[in-house]
Symmetry: C2
Subunit: 211 residues, 2 copies
DNA sequence: TAGATTGTTAATCGATTAACAATC
DNA sequence: TAGATTGTTAATCGATTAACAATC
């Protein structure tokens, strides 16, 4: 039976399952056992079965799992079958690349607004979305009710805009800044993308890969 | 005494310590206790002390830790005081933003080459680095000995170029593609940046934040 | 010296792995 | 039915937290 409180490690593996199952589907594979899936993903069969059983009984004894069905179930669990409105703040190099490069629609979101402080950028179009002034943030949010904010601004400005966005009803942050949202607003959902942390970790690994 | 085998959770916290200590330093704070640092970072004092003691005895009983010294020690552990040559493959939206946006020099690397398959991009300059053809990869690597490759290419091309790069002496990958390097080359150091996984995780959290 | 805080050992907690009965 | 593979419980492993003697 489905558990109510799923641990973080399990949640973080779900997108990977989703991707791998998508590939299997694309390869025309219709069924797979926990053993075979674990082998392909570098996990253990136990872990795979434990993970899935957090959410329900998706397999069949003696058969395994139906690839398409299982992927669709995981997609549902991840909430990919609905679209939540999202806005992006800070359309610099990074913000622009995120807006252009990420297929929000495939991952549960609809990017509906881009906001910038720098006057020179306002009015430009990115992915058919006009860049608006942050001054229009209040009005835009009251009209369109975005639930997600993508923060692509420097740490300095992040504190005040985060507060503003939370007041405007934002429930989740995809945070590319170094401002620590969770520390100050524990009730909001946050996913951090810290490039520099990732790069430093890699530096560490290269220094110690002999061990 | 320093341990030889440090666990992944500890390693992943190091960059965060490094950042927080940098901020404290910037604020003119010269000493800090594990208790105070843990409070600011949302950890426990025990964890902070355990983490640091993996690498040495950096504190002093009754006093705490010297902020500047501790940050510098962690920087050394992360290997930020040396520069390893790095190249970036795939100068599309994302690759260009990474090249322009990331301060490689602050995190242990020197970006020395950009490579592209698409003829139209070759010759362009990004951050004073010319975009080269992937055909010149072999020659460039034999001359410049990069240790890190930043992969900003689609999954399809990643397999073959990864193999090529490993043969050319690349020891680490900063992997923005969905190709699973570790599964196929377990001896190489890899840090994955999977935007879509991160976004899907956030979608999950927004669906279940009531729990 | 007395107070504070570390370094480190022991206890707890949680996640992963192993085992196996249930069942398709 | 026999073989395969799940769902699930129990055992193990590892990471976090608590406790406290050492010491500045």
């Amino acid at each position: 039976m489905p558990k109510s409180n799923i641990s973080t490690p399990v949640i973080r593996r779900l997108p990977r399952y989703y991707r791998f199952l998508g590939e299997l589907k694309a390869q025309g594979i219709t069924r797979i056992s926990s053993g075979e899936l674990s082998r392909r993903m570098g996990l253990t069969a136990s872990q795979v079965r434990q993970d899935f059983n957090c959410f329900g009984e998706f397999g069949q004894q003696g058969y395994g799992y139906n690839v398409e069905l299982l992927q669709s179930e995981i997609g549902d669990i991840l909430g990919l079958n609905r679209l939540r409105n999202a806005i992006l703040i800070g359309v610099g190099n990074l913000g622009k690349a995120v807006a252009q490069h990420i297929r929000f629609n495939s991952f549960g979101f609809q990017l509906i607004g881009l906001f910038e402080e720098r006057e020179s950028l306002i009015g430009q179009m990115v992915k058919n979305i006009p860049i608006r002034s942050v001054k229009d943030l209040d009005e835009f949010c009251r009209e369109n009710h975005p639930e997600l904010a993508v923060l692509c601004i420097p740490k300095e400005g992040a504190q005040s805009i985060t507060e503003q966005l939370i007041k405007l009803g934002i429930k989740g942050f995809w945070n590319f800044s170094h401002y620590d949202i969770t520390l100050n607003y524990p009730d909001v959902q946050v996913e951090n993308v810290h490039f520099s942390d990732s790069l430093m970790t890699l530096s560490y690994k290269l220094n110690n890969n002999n061990k």
